[in-house]
């Protein structure tokens, strides 16, 4: 290189934190760009009018009162799972096992509901179901945390594997319970409705939404204003620093993961007692993974997660409607969702990094030096 410094064509460097207006402007531009690209894809691939496609999307999410309630309920569920994984992420513990933790909670809830349905008064039954779900979810997170704390195993792989075990446990339970069935459970206690969450004011959605609001507030406080929250962020920043200041890292890992799993267990409970009144291997529906994205998009901020989970649920519900209204395959709606997410996640890059192109003068200088 003749000892000379070479200026690359594109320079990428970390930015100072942008003022929030600017960062939101970048995000806004990304969304507009995504909509334009989606419109192009729509016209090219299907010949449909993109405005109509976006109209379907909006109508799928907001078209009727019932759809709006469902959207809010779906947001509540996704948000709660995202809140559950957040403390672990803040601690740089890659818990990708929320899916399994929700399933473990749901399975415990179903079993309790099925076998104690006619033995306990309803209020007590629901309480027992909740405790069982929380315990099962917590256990499902505790196992990989214990191995991590004790033997420093890889938590990403471990939590991922726990998902498959949970799926198969549910599949096994259904086949064991209904050997001559079709792999579905059917509604539990359909006649007695034992263990079903009450409908507040006749509305089946409100209770779940309220629970998520409370958990969001509590999680916000826990992460930002408690000693525990502080400790886990120190562990996340640097384990060595944490040790140096006397934080017992293993203990923090275990404690945080139990919390993570317990909140996932609550979601499992809500899904079984409040939504499906049954269980299937698909009960978490991949939301344990979507939650990872929600949490990251929101930079682990519980309040911002309300928006990111809302966005993802809106896109999902909208994609469904597109396929119904326009007779397009479901995959098409997913393509649009993918494009929009790609742009939104991509915009985070431009918020965090500065891109500088090599200026003409620098280039000129290089040529002269050569």
């Amino acid at each position: 290189m003749n000892g000379k410094t070479h200026t690359p064509l594109i320079q990428v460097s970390k930015r100072e934190t942008l003022p929030w207006q600017k960062s939101w402007l970048i995000r806004g531009i990304a969304i507009v760009a995504a909509l334009v690209v989606c419109a192009l894809i729509t016209t090219m691939l299907t010949g449909e009018n993109p405005i109509q496609v976006y109209g379907s999307m909006v109508s799928g999410a907001f078209g009727t009162g019932r759809r709006i309630w469902q959207l809010l309920r779906n947001v509540a569920i996704l948000l709660t799972i995202s809140l559950a994984v957040t403390p672990a992420f803040k601690m740089r513990f890659w818990n990708v096992g929320a899916e399994g933790q929700v399933m473990a909670g749901a399975l415990a809830c179903t079993v309790t509901m099925l076998y104690l349905g006619d033995k306990l008064p309803n209020a007590l039954l629901i309480l027992v179901m909740l405790i069982a779900s929380v315990a099962a979810g917590a256990l499902w997170a505790f196992i990989p945390a214990f191995f991590k704390a004790k033997w420093n195993t890889n938590e990403t792989l471990f939590t991922l594997m726990m998902n498959y075990i949970a799926t198969q446990l549910i599949a096994f339970f259904i086949v064991w319970k209904y050997p001559n069935g079709t792999g579905t459970m059917g509604i539990v206690n359909q006649d007695t409705r034992a263990g079903w969450l009450p409908r507040l004011g006749g509305n089946e959605f409100i209770l779940i939404i309220l629970v998520s609001v409370v958990i969001t507030a509590l999680m916000y406080v826990y992460l930002n204003y408690t000693k525990h929250g502080y400790e886990l962020s120190v562990v996340g920043e640097s384990e060595r620093t944490a040790r140096y200041v006397g934080i017992k890292v293993g203990k923090v890992v275990l404690r945080t993961l139990i919390l993570s799993g317990a909140v996932c267990g609550i979601v499992g409970f809500l899904l079984v007692a409040g939504v499906h009144h049954s269980i299937s291997t698909n009960i978490a529906g991949g939301q344990g993974f979507t939650a990872v994205m929600v949490s990251w998009l929101a930079h682990f901020n519980p309040i911002m997660m309300v928006f990111s989970s809302f966005l993802l649920c809106f896109l999902g519900q909208g994609a469904d409607q597109i396929s119904t209204d326009l007779g397009l395959d479901h995959a098409f709606g997913d393509i649009l969702t993918g494009v929009i997410l790609f742009f939104i996640i991509g915009s985070e890059f431009f918020i965090n990094y500065k891109i500088k192109f090599r200026s003409g003068e620098e280039r000129k200088g290089e040529i002269e030096n050569a």
Partner: protein, 395 residues
């Protein structure tokens, strides 16, 4: 920024509202259909085609909702369809039933019709109905085509009579599947007495990989002809690439398997859809359990692929079909099969669904098993001799 978002949202909502307005026409009857999968599944495609065809023929509006899982989403979809003005809701998968019943309880003014379900006759709901067809008769006829093919292989010296083993890719060890493969087997046995059969289960109604693997396993076990009760192209394509004859289900797979497809039986749902819509139009009640037959045009066979089928297959099928229609031939004639080496004179089937599958109804009389007479969905679940179940520990 918030303002901008608010304005954008408002605009988009207005567009949505306008789009909704322009769609509304004079109040025509509207039917909502709920499907477990989409047109990639042969099972759902069969329903989708019949739904479109019938509604267009009768001039009623319809909404098709595909990929609706067997959970609360089914009830919510039904209610969404009701919000859009549907007065009849139809769902096509067994697991939809409980959720449809919940919707039926909450919406007594809407009629709910459900294929393959078992609970209508015990649910005490005047607006919830089950429907199915005597598809075991179609399977039996398709079985005759299989048996004739085996005979051809035996006659040509390709296999011995003892090697006449068929393979069957099933979904679940569930009565509908058992009834299906048993009637298929009995059809084959009626022309090829030495036939045996192996059945493998995938544990899913639609799992292309598992169905393909299942078919390949059966072929490597020495099965010389394959049929299936699972909804993907897995088994037909496995047969085509191994040059093993295939008797299909839900519709013709001749395009995918031109050199191995023999014939396929399927339920034609159009007669039921016409009936269901007609009854509501006339203000009459829909039957709690409706069983379509060959005579109603509900049980049909595709054209026989004469390039693959044995000579005389079409005629043999026609002859048996005439006997079935005349009531002189019964598929589950107790003289034609044994269980543990003995003929059955009596059998209690689980007709009234309960959690423990308690047998409750005598179904053998006059020398045959009365399938789909006590309720529309099949309840033949006897493991008869000659059929080996390979793996029942799916999941």
């Amino acid at each position: 920024m918030k303002k901008v978002i608010a304005i954008v949202l408002c605009l988009v909502m207005c567009v949505g509202a306008l789009a909704a307005c322009s769609n509304s026409t004079e109040s025509k009857m509207k039917v909502g259909f709920i499907f477990l999968h989409d047109e990639n599944s042969t099972y759902d495609l069969n329903f989708l085609n019949a739904a479109k065809e019938t509604c267009e023929k009768l001039g009623v509006e319809y909404i098709l909702r595909t990929n609706i899982p067997e959970d609360q989403k089914c009830k919510e979809t039904a209610e969404d369809l009701i919000d859009q003005g549907c007065t009849i809701i139809f769902a096509d998968s067994f697991g939809h039933e409980d959720y449809l019943i919940e919707a039926a309880k909450d919406h007594p003014e809407v009629q709910f019709c459900h294929a393959t379900g078992t609970k209508a006759h015990t649910a005490n709901l005047s607006n919830f109905h089950n429907a199915f067809a005597s598809i075991y008769e179609g399977r039996y006829l398709a079985g005759i085509a299989a048996g004739m093919k085996l005979n051809e292989m035996i006659a040509s010296g390709k296999i011995t009579a003892d090697q006449a083993k068929m393979g069957y890719v099933g979904a679940f060890t569930y009565a509908e599947v058992i009834s299906g493969y048993t009637s298929f087997y009995l059809g084959a046995k009626s022309v090829c007495p030495s036939v045996t059969m192996e059945v493998t289960f995938t544990g899913s109604w639609y799992d292309e990989t598992a169905e393909k693997e299942g078919a390949l396993k059966l072929i490597s076990n020495g099965c010389v002809l394959i049929s299936q009760h699972a909804d993907s192209m897995g088994a037909p394509t496995a047969c085509e690439s191994n040059n093993v004859p295939n008797v299909s289900y839900n519709g013709s797979t001749i395009k995918e398997a031109p050199n191995t497809f023999i014939v396929s039986s399927r339920i034609n749902w159009s007669p039921y859809f016409e009936y269901m819509i007609g009854q509501v139009k006339d203000g009459k009640a829909i039957d709690t359990d409706w069983t379509g037959t060959i005579a109603t045009g509900s049980v049909v066979l595709t054209d026989v692929n004469t390039n693959v089928a044995a000579a005389g297959t079409v005629e043999a099928i026609e002859a048996a079909k005439a006997q079935l229609e005349a009531g002189t031939l019964h598929v589950f004639n107790t003289d034609t099969f044994t269980k543990d080496g003995a003929k059955l004179d009596s059998y209690l089937a689980d007709v009234n669904t309960d959690a423990d599958f308690t047998p409750d109804t005598e179904v053998i009389s006059d020398g045959y098993f009365h399938e789909s007479e006590k309720r529309s969905a099949p309840y033949f679940d006897i493991q008869i001799d000659g059929i080996t179940l390979l793996d029942v520990n799916f999941g």
